[in-house]
């Protein structure tokens, strides 16, 4: 089948995504929502790119804008409240055409979703149809996008369930989502998302609701499938351990902007933004005990992120930052290159 033929032709992930060859190239993406209290802008201008076969992790805490980023790219913003106010998201389709997802009409997006780009979510129960057997759901997608007849589509669905290593796949084909465990449902959702071999997979906290032993299974599975199918992955997570396990590059988001981006190794080993460094230092996994065996206090980041619309005029992190100077509060710093593939949105990055 196609999986094995693809396996031979796909190169390992390129370490660096050039805009010219990028699968997805996002520039200045700005998304706003109209609310009763006025317009809020959770996404204030985001730039990143994903190369074919590469995994880029988008990491940040609640309200950083990471999920709004993925919904904007997929054209899944709640309408009419949400809209892309500025920027572009150029996506390269398998026939070489370039489509701006930020401006594409509904018909174009419908054609692309599933076939060219697909998404998996944190909670599979909300994305799977509860009244349709899972085999039918996968078969529906492949009939629509690949033009297979019903028998061929069901056979394809079975191969997909086997690909995601669901035991007794033939029986599972006829089961409903509620008959499955959380881990099995997540496998079904991955099978559904990958059934038409998309070139880009957006995974929004796909293992957050799972137990660690099941999370480990799903992460190994995703790595295997990426290797076999060669897709690019935009992996959205709040878990830095998961980033270290899955991604080659990482973009750290804070209050609607990317504040640091680079290879996972560089960003984790030598963070050049005070927020990234703060996140690393406050992890219990990086904590110590004193000579009496008592836990040494974690280096918590003081305060909390400002609500959208109430952010300071300059660097959004300045009110919580130990390195802040008066100039940090006057204007939003630009992303500065600190190394060939490493950027930081901090005026004082060289002091870190």
């Amino acid at each position: 089948m196609t999986v094995s033929t693809l396996q031979k032709t796909v190169a390992r992930p390129a370490p660096q995504a050039e805009a010219a060859t990028a699968l997805l190239d996002v520039r200045g993406l700005r998304t706003e929502f109209r609310t009763d209290g006025g317009v809020v802008t959770p996404l204030l201008g985001v730039d990143f790119s994903v190369a074919p076969g590469e995994t880029l992790a988008l990491v940040g805490e609640s309200g950083s804008g990471k999920s709004v980023t993925s919904l904007s790219i997929m054209g899944l913003l709640a309408r009419p409240a949400g809209r892309i106010a500025a920027g572009s998201a150029l996506f390269r389709t398998r026939d070489g055409a370039s489509v701006d997802l930020a401006r594409a009409d509904d018909a174009t997006l419908r054609r692309l979703r599933g076939r060219e780009l697909a998404m998996i979510f944190q909670e599979p129960m909300t994305s799977l149809n509860p009244v349709l057997p899972v085999g039918e759901q996968i078969a529906d997608a492949v009939r629509l996008h690949l033009g297979l007849d019903r028998q061929a589509a069901l056979a394809h669905a079975l191969r997909m369930l086997e690909l995601v290593e669901i035991p007794a796949a033939r029986q599972r084909l006829r089961e409903y989502p509620h008959q499955m465990s959380g881990g099995m449902r997540q496998r079904v959702m991955i099978a559904l998302a990958l059934s038409c071999e998309p070139r880009l997979l957006i995974a929004d906290e796909p293992t957050t609701a799972l137990d660690v032993t099941i999370q480990a299974q799903i992460l190994v599975l995703m790595r295997k499938l990426q290797h076999e199918l060669g897709m690019g992955i935009l992996f959205i997570t709040h878990n830095l351990g998961v980033v270290a396990e899955t991604a080659q590059r990482v973009a750290v988001m804070y209050a609607g902007r990317i504040v640091e981006t680079g290879t996972v190794r560089e960003v984790f080993k030598a963070p050049k933004h005070p927020y990234t460094r703060g996140l690393m230092e406050c992890l219990p996994a990086n904590a110590h005990r004193d000579e009496r065996g008592q836990p040494v206090r974690l280096k918590a980041i003081p305060g909390q992120v400002a609500a959208p619309g109430r952010q300071p005029p300059g660097c959004a992190f300045a009110p919580r930052c130990a390195f802040a100077e008066p100039r940090c509060e006057s204007a939003v710093p630009a992303l500065a290159a600190v190394a060939p593939d490493h950027q930081s949105r901090c005026l004082r990055w060289s002091a870190l």
Partner: protein, 335 residues
């Protein structure tokens, strides 16, 4: 009579008197022939001033144990000794005065605070219930509690919706501390919080523990958080105790195959430590129909025939370090 008395982690070096002594705890949900066996024959001690961690995945029984210990649920069988009494058997009237001494902090700071009450009354309700700090002393006590958990005193007049998750969790902690408890069950108190806020709340718990000498049962699925805060750790799987050990020994040298697998599955925030791993296969079996013998055997990489017929008892493999596994020769790989 006690069937309960057979599977107890009693160390040869045990000397300290326990504040809470749990013996042979069972909790089954549903009656009839096939109840959900949420907790099966669990025994452990919590010493004064100790933070005991209870870790396990979904369905391991950790929250159920916490609620049984506080008698928020009635155990099906077993004993919970506290202050010379068995909480599991006390009638409600006798239990009420003890409630002041035994408190709980919940996971969800959004669901556990009454949205219609001001913070003053959320904390004050606990004082009123137990007749503490009446009249003028009430406001002073509430102010004292707010500053104890690191919140401005004037927040007392606000409502829960005005606060972030981390602030709400501080309020939940202040409410639990209001009645000066001797023992607190903290059920996933930082699971709903972002890491930067989680660190603030963990620091607060550690500080309160040092200042007030709190004894705590700390329930969590997060192995890193438990390692950070807890003195000793109980590892649960499908309602049963797999391993009990001092935190450092457990993390450095896990002796039960499940603990080993759990630690290996936890992703490290370090790109240099990513190892090609073989994750544990399969899923947790149903607690309605748990496997015979060792409940972990269906996923255990070291399983032998005997594991299907014998329920392993806890045995001491190092001072204060217990495991419930028939095989003495595993885990094979030294950490």
């Amino acid at each position: 009579m006690n069937a309960v008395a057979e599977n107890i982690p009693m160390s040869r070096e045990e000397t300290a008197e326990a504040l809470i002594r749990v013996r042979g705890l069972h909790k089954h949900f549903g009656t009839g022939e096939r109840p959900v066996r949420a907790v099966e024959d669990v025994s452990f001690d919590i010493r004064p001033g100790e933070v005991l961690g209870l870790v396990g995945e979904s369905g391991s029984g950790k929250s159920t144990i916490g609620r049984c210990v506080l008698r928020l649920l009635d155990p099906t069988r077993g004993e919970v000794h506290y202050g010379g009494q068995d909480l599991a058997r006390l009638p409600p009237r006798a239990l009420r005065p003890l409630r002041r001494e035994l408190q709980i902090v919940f996971q969800d700071p959004y669901a556990s605070l009454n949205p219609r009450l001001r913070i003053r009354d959320i904390i004050g309700e606990a004082l009123d219930t137990h007749g503490l700090h009446r009249g003028e002393a009430r406001a002073a006590r509430i102010a004292e509690l707010l500053s104890l958990v690191g919140l401005p005193v004037d927040y007392a007049d606000r409502y829960p919706h005005e606060f972030s998750g981390g602030q709400r969790q501080r309020i939940g902690i202040a409410r639990a501390l209001a009645v000066e408890p001797r023992f607190i069950v903290a059920d996933e108190p930082v699971a709903a919080l972002d890491v930067s806020i989680q660190a603030q709340v963990l620091n607060l718990l550690q500080e309160l523990r040092e200042r007030l000498g709190l004894t705590m049962l700390f329930i969590s699925h997060d192995l890193d958080v438990v390692e950070y805060l807890c003195d000793r750790v109980v590892v649960l799987y499908l309602g049963r105790v797999m391993e009990i050990a001092p935190a450092e020994a457990l993390y450095r040298n896990p002796r039960h195959p499940y603990t080993e697998a759990l630690l290996a599955a936890s992703p490290r925030p370090d790109p240099d430590q990513v190892k090609a791993r073989k994750p544990l296969q399969g899923e947790v079996p149903s607690p309605v129909n748990p496997p015979s013998g060792c409940v972990f055997r269906t996923r255990c990489p070291y399983v032998q025939d005997a594991c299907a017929s014998t329920v392993p008892r806890l045995k001491e493999v190092a001072p204060g370090h217990f495991k419930a596994c028939l095989r003495d020769d595993v885990p094979l790989a030294a950490p």
